[in-house]
Amino acid sequence: MTVEILAQRNARPGRDEEVDVVIVGAGPSGSVAALHLARAGISVVVLEQGEWPDYDDYTGARPEHELVSTKLWHPNPNVRDSPNDYPVDTSTTDINPLMFAGVGGSATLYGAQWMHFLPSDFRVRSMDGVAEDWPFTYEDLLPYQLEIEREVGVSGLSGDPAFPPRGAYPFPALPMGSVGLRGALGMEKMGWHWWPGSNAIPSEKFGELNPCVRRGTCLTGCPEGAKSTTDRSHWPLALKAGARLITRARVKEVETNDQGLATGVVYIDANGRERRQRAKVVILCANGVGTPRLLLMSGGSRNPHGLANSSGMVGKRLMMHPFASVLASYEDPLDSWRGPFGQQVYSLEFYETDESRGFVRGSKWNCMPSGGPVGVSGATGSKVYVAEEGRFQDFWGANLHENVARRFGHSLIWGIVGEDLPEESNQVVLSKDLVDSDGLPAPQIVYKVNENSNRLLQFNIDRCLESVRAAGAIETLVSTPVRESGWHLIGTTVMGGDPKRSVVDQWGACHDVPNLYVMDASTFPTSGATNPTATIMAVALRNTHRMIAERRNQKVA
């Protein structure tokens, strides 16, 4: 039975039907919760504002790929301008938030870089005197990390000395192309840490996932169905277990009763009609921008500052991982259009705090191919490597041919992800002017890259230049901080033990509304410096297991 048939069979609940759990968002965290709750016999409805992906729409294998993907598959919803997206007011941010609405969520456009947080990420206050410790430890989360890896189909090589010992990955690491080998060479010459990339891309057939063929178009949707996204890894199983999924359903409000307990949600369906889904428990999995937006829209007269916001922390402490990139070109060919795109090699050499560097916390580097000729030309589309004061002639005419000849097929990119420290001034608020296609207020991002991040990025760029030059780079191009880099949306409904300083407890339950949960990266007290999807899914799994175990003690309306 196909996923499509299952999806049709699992019909929309009746008008007054109350389900056990309604989940907002069918991305990584919502999908994990839906699968495990449904398997436990709990009735689940998931509301997703986007649609099922159509793999024929992914253009990676077609000649027009570079032309189409810079619009249709752009990670910035304001550029993509799809009816399934809501717009974001980015007039007050240094970094644009990136996201995608659909079954599979923003992972539809992720690089599938699969990284655990490190032990120190959970103990930042204790070890470095900044931000807050998490309510649980690396060791507490590790079993869930390993369980999720088996569900996702991760490929990688265990034994990395940058992590505590762990079990084997489900699949062997993807082949390291010439790009990865050259990146590793530079690190080796410097005597620095590197390791073969771990990716949420199985190197062998796994369930609905096909083996990766190194097409290198992960960031614009995988036409092979090889990159692990939950429309393939989780939803076929969740639908079989009885979960119901309603697409093109935009939730506008979480409703509560006089006792302050959640009673369900109101959403706008594909036909523009307002509907109500009653539920004993509500789980928000709408990402670090969408989740606080929904809470802020849900206050009503009883909560004029937003639902679950007695702490005043809803929307605050937004972290987006300031990002820098270094493109390095070499004389010899690297076949640098070939994947895997996400990370052929990563480095955690500068991950931990060293106060002599002038900043706290650290970074993760990942080595990626540089892609097709249009992208590496620097001439159009992304302005990543084009200075504002640059003349257009620098990128056109004979310069275009020479730039492409030097870079295309001969270059790699090191991406540098810096830990973003939480600051209450960096936040998601509701726009006073901008609305989505249903007239709901758009989120506005208020965000400044702080001094710690600027110092961190500059230090790492300087080190990265040393590494690529040690490996023979003949040209380097740096961009920092990259404006279109807010892939990781973290921290806006922070978890903690003190209801006056946090929004949810360590299990994702709102202090103010005990049957309202948040299970996306909004709850993370700190951001780490690694790609967060592995941790998002593991924390969602931990919370879900707890919810199932404690189902008889759950307070409901």
Partner: protein, 135 residues
Amino acid sequence: MAKEQVFFALADFLIPAHGKMPKFSDVCAYADVEKSLDFRIDLKEGFARAIATDPSTGAEAHLEKINKQDGEAFSAITTIAIATYYMNPRVRELIGYPGQENVQYDSKATQIYLTNGSLGHVIARGRKYRPTPGL
């Protein structure tokens, strides 16, 4: 000057012949340009503005003017020009680009970093993480 001629004049300035590489109009027909615009209908208005007037002052001055006065039009015409050029099979052959290709491999093959000692050096340098027992 016909709109097609205006476009080719601008495109050939942006992408001239250079070394082994042909100029735009040597390899791309206007039908190719229209096909590209069909993929990106969002660029059609800006593209039309960019070629609405004759570049009487020359292609470079005309592009300079568009770049300063109508960034959307400049972005449209340059995006269509470069994408159309690098979609051309002859151009791809000249730069050695097969497109985003399917590459077969043996997932169980031993990787070179496991046999040449390079990963062994990383392991030999020892633990990198900071343990957090009791914290």
